[in-house]
Each structure stands twice: as C-alpha cells, then as structure tokens.
Symmetry: C2
C-alpha cells in the first residue's frame, strides 16, 4: 500500500495505533503500522524508561508519542508555578469529594490505606506536558501528536527542528484549520464515535469536511469507528491518507488493560458507550457503567473543569481498578467496542485489517466495473 | 455499477432518495437512482394524487413509498377507533399547550385565524398508515419502506403479494434482526448522524455490524452522513449494497422546502443539528434552532410520547412556516447539512455523486496496487 503517510514515514500500512502500553506500540510498528505511545499517565522519568524500552524492541521501525496540551484549562494562568497542584486542589469543592467517596462506598470499594496515588495532574496541562515533550524528543521518534487543540507554536518548531512530524487531533473543520495555522503536519480528524475526547460530528461527515478544509498540503488521518478492514477502506474512501485507531488495542494480547475492564470491553456492544465529562471535565466517549451513570444522575454535583475533574477522581480510579470492580470500572473507548469480542495478538489485528481491506477494494472494483 | 440492489430493481445507481416531494422522487428515479416518497404528511386521498403524478412523470422507472408504522406509540391499544384522535387530544396536558403558545408569542408568530390545520395524527400510527399502504399498493411501486421499527407481518405479506420489496429502517443490529424475522427484504441501517429518527451508533460502526448480523440473505443499505461520492464509496466499503439518502434532497432545485428553512439549511454547519424529541416524541436529528433549544431549556415541560408530541405542535409548525420564521423553523436533517451549501438540480446531485465515486475507486486502486 502507498499513501502519503506510508511514504512520509516509510511504513508498510497506513495504520496508526494509539496506546498507553509500550508492548502494543512496539508490536504495531514491528508489524508495519505506526505505534504511538500515550504519554499522559507517565512522569517524565517513567516516560524515559518506556521510550528506552521501545527503542530496544521496535526493531528500528518508526513510532510516535502522544501528549496532551489542552488549549484551555483551569490554572493555565498559573504557568508551571510550584504550587500549581496545591492551588488547583484547593479549588475542588468538598461537595464533589463527598459525592465520589459516597459513590465508591455504596459499591463497597475499600478506601486507600496509603496516602493516595498522588497522580493528580498527570500530563493534563501545558506545564506538565512540556517535560514529556523534552523527554520524547531525546528519542528517535518520528511523530509527536497533541490530543487537545492546537499545540503551542514553539513545541511545533521544536519538533520540526528534531525532524519530527507534528500531528494534532481535531473534531471539526474549524479546529483543523487552526491546527494547520500553527504548523501541524498531520490532522487526525476524529469523529464522535471515537473513544476519549470527541466532538459531535461523525467520522462519515467529518473526514471529507476536514480534507477539504485543510487543503492538499496537509495530511489527514481518519479516526473514530475504525477497527477492521471495511472501516480502513471507508476512511481512505472519505479522503484520508490513513487511519488513526485506539480502542481496538485495549483488548489485544499485549495490552495491560486491567482484567475487569477488559472483560467489560469484550462483552460491550456499540451502544454501551456515552460521551461524558466525568473523566476529565471535557466530553469524552467512555464505556457506560455505574460510574458514568452516577455523574448523570440527579444527585450528581456536576463535573469540574479540566484538570480538576481528573484530580478529583484520580484516587477513585485507582481504588476501583485495585478492587477489580466491574460495576464501576470505566474506560475511554469508542463505539467500535461492539466489535472487540476476542483477544488477538497485535500483529494479527494488523494482518486481519489488511486482509479485509484488500477484499473490500476487490469488491468495490467488482461493483464498479461491471 | 452493479450491486444486489441495482440488479433487484433494474436501476443504474445504488442510490435511494427519500423525499416528501414528488418532483424529487420522480427526478431521482429518472436519473438512474430510486426515489422514495415519504407518505407521512399526506391523507390517503392526497397520496393517491401524488402517486398518480409520479406514475405520469417517472418515465417507467421504479420508485418507492415510505410509511411510518411505529412498533410502539400511545393509543396503539385504541386501534382505529373513530375517536382515536379525540382521545389522544384529551391526553395532552394544558401546560404543554401553554408552553408552545408562549414560545410562538415570544417570537412574534401570529396565531391561526382559522380552525387549525387539523393535521394532527398524520401517518404516525398503525391505524393512519394502513390506508396509505392500501393506496400505495394500488400503484406500480417497487419498494415499500417502514421508518420506525418492524412493520406488521400482514403488511409485509401484502407487499410481497404485490411483488413489492419491503424495506425497514434500523439503528442497531438487534433491531435489524427483528426486521428480518418479520420478512423485511432490505435493511436501511441508519447511523446517528442521519436526519429524522435515529439511534446513537454512527454509520461507520453500524453498517458492518448490521451486515454481519442479518447475514448474506438480506440486503443492507447505508444511511446517515451520505451526500457525496466519497460517502457512497465509504458506505459500500463498509459492506452495504447501496446508499439511502434524505437530507441532501431538501435543497435541490425541485424541492418544495419552505424558503426560510432552505436558507438555514444552506448556511448550517455539520455541528448545527441536535437529536431532539421535540418533533415527534422519539429522538430525531433536526436542525438546531430556537425551537429545539426551547424544548431543552429549564422552562420546557418535557416532550410527550408519540403521536401526541406531533399533535401538540402541528399547528405551531404550520404557523412558523407561514410566518417564514427563520429563528424558530426547524427540520429533520442530518449532519450532512454542513455540505449542503448550494442549490443544484436533482439529476446533477446524482451525477456529481457518481463522478466522485468513480474517482474514489480509482484512488483506492492507486493506493492499493502500488
């Protein structure tokens, strides 16, 4: 296969795989796609360890790193001041803390005996994502992606100085144009059916709009609802140069998804997701569980703005996972979850995608030529 | 082009066009697609007039009729009793009538001087849709479609006796299987981005699920987000045998869409729709205007179940259209509205679709073979 992204990166298949799991990232790149490691959950020191591991296991194939530098968040005016976290913590209402604790108690989830995981801010802010960028650019990455809004211009420049291409996620044509203005090379146009932070326009409608809006000089990848060859073909038919996938890597052999979450993902249907602010404060598509329902209920205090919502719930997520609670577990995942019904090795997923893709192109030719 | 639906109906292109406007229906069929007349707004007598006109103007090409026989609605137990409408009218709370009147007053919409349009029930019930079916089957239609849930088994049998194929709209795989069980020949799998009554699963995810769920004996058409060749190709890539379109026919030359509505459709973006119960009581994607916003506001009394919601608002819609109010006007329309930016003749829309489709297949071959 040859599209502008296979040419640009020297990869075999135009399939990009977002994952927080280094094993998946390396396996996708080795199989001919491009793995992209989500840096969000790692401290700079941990990220260094992960990337070193990938360098040693990716067989010289290209891979990427994904950070989150939201254009807008509470506390952005505080910069990287040392007491950023303390000041944000102080802004979280007691009512919200009570709501979370009562919810977990109601489901019999044990409180933390230790101090708390302490992972409240993660890479959710410009201030905490920049050190991740520094670490990433010390490794031979081929792509740096930013997940929420246009990246700061100096970060784009820094990436380009290192010969690294910059990608940005966009959920509508206006946002895509903004990304191009700051120098982003690749737009990941993400439909509402995608997992994680999404807008409201579907992939089917969004991709042609974005392709036309950014013009021929910018590469567009299709994201949202892509898990098999039919959908890869559809994404390319809509005008994209490749597919950006995420959800489907949560249930591969190599994934480190907690067992309770993985089992719920395997049995979920495409109707079992919901766009909810209960994870980060911005709308993100997630598995619908007692967790997301509680935040929609009448007793809900409402969600907090980014990054305070995640700071509020960080310990709770830790407790839920530790307890292996399948009632309360939740996960950013797209509607494609309905097709994620069995565990396969990462490489197999890539080959199955390509096999079906080839069959689809054959079918289209048969339809068209006759 | 040749798919199972072009073969089945002897049409040139696998493009189905739903429209309430007879001119559009005839023009689509004459251009090589298949026009499908929405019967909902017509009395049986009026439907007879419309179909007679189509018979005279369709040049012997096949066309279809679409009715609404919802599986569930208030008053279904009343059958076709003569006082069905009066009994349903009596169930509408005064609070709801006041809300609608105050909303229109606030926007300066004149009250009706006459008695009211009297079009309260339309074809929204089994009882009122059956006479439409009777009329339709007296004409040389090729297809009878039902828009909400599986049609009654005797209606399917009646259609088949007349050599007419039966289509049913479905927004998830479970509903699609139910349709197949009652003998439906063609499933219109409709993604959440579609106009009118929709579910929550996107076209990208839905089509492969439905194709696999119904098996090789049932034909699937892709609906939702299809307005141009890229999207037709994507729908076929996803496994459908053709595309079911609707929104894009609202802004063609031949359409009888009220001017205020048409102008808003032409300027709307793909983000300007919303799934709302404010039209019929069931969730339907519509143009987002002051109308849909009012029903979501704090002052909203909430919507009524089908068919009472439409009975409640029927006169109001009449008043809004008569006043040419572009603030309050609303319309069932899909997210593809963002691409509906100019008025073209119906035949031109078909040819543009096909031209782009051919270019897409060429591009896929280029990508794949190299």
């Amino acid at each position: 296969m040859r599209t502008r992204v296979t040419e640009l990166f020297g990869i075999e298949y135009p399939i990009f795989a977002f994952s927080h799991c280094r094993d998946v990232v390396a396996a996708v790149s080795r199989a001919g796609g491009m793995g992209v490691l989500g840096a969000l959950y790692f401290t700079p020191e941990e990220l260094e360890v992960e990337l070193k591991w990938i360098d040693e296991h990716v067989g010289g194939r290209p891979y990427g790193v994904d950070v989150v530098m939201p254009a807008k968040y509470e506390g952005a005016d505080l910069g990287d001041s040392e007491d950023l976290m303390a000041r944000l913590q102080a802004m979280i209402p007691e009512r919200h803390r009570l709501f979370v604790n009562e919810l977990l108690e109601r489901h019999g989830i044990e409180p933390l005996s230790e101090e708390g995981a302490g992972r409240y801010l993660l890479g959710w802010t410009d201030a905490t994502a920049r050190p991740q960028v520094e670490v990433a650019l010390r490794h031979p990455i081929a792509l740096l992606a930013n997940a929420l809004g246009p990246p700061p211009a100096d970060v784009v420049a820094q990436a380009h100085e290192h010969g690294v291409k910059m990608a940005g996620l966009a959920s509508n044509a206006r946002h895509a144009r903004k990304q191009v203005e700051v120098g982003v090379d690749i737009i990941v146009a993400q439909g509402t059916e995608a997992g994680g932070h999404t807008g409201d326009v579907s992939t089917m409608v969004l991709i042609p709009e974005v392709v036309d809006a950014v013009g021929p000089d910018t590469i567009v990848l299709a994201a949202g609802g892509i898990g098999r060859g039919r959908q890869l073909a559809a994404g390319l038919a809509l005008g994209a140069e490749g597919a950006w996938t995420g959800s489907i890597w949560l249930t591969v052999d190599e994934a480190d998804t907690p067992e309770a979450s993985r089992d719920r993902l395997l049995s979920a249907t495409s109707r079992d997701t919901v766009r909810s602010r209960s994870w980060t404060g911005k709308p993100a598509r997630m598995l619908r569980t007692a967790w997301t329902d509680a935040w929609e209920s009448e007793k809900s205090p409402g969600t907090l703005p980014m990054p305070m919502q995640f700071m509020l719930i960080s310990d709770a997520l830790h407790r839920i996972n530790r307890a292996g609670s399948s009632e309360l577990t939740t996960f950013p995942v797209g509607q494609i979850v309905g097709s994620m019904n069995r565990v396969r090795p990462t490489a197999q997923v890539i080959y199955d995608l390509m096999e079906e893709y080839i069959a689809v192109v054959d079918r289209l030719n048969h339809i068209t030529e006759s």
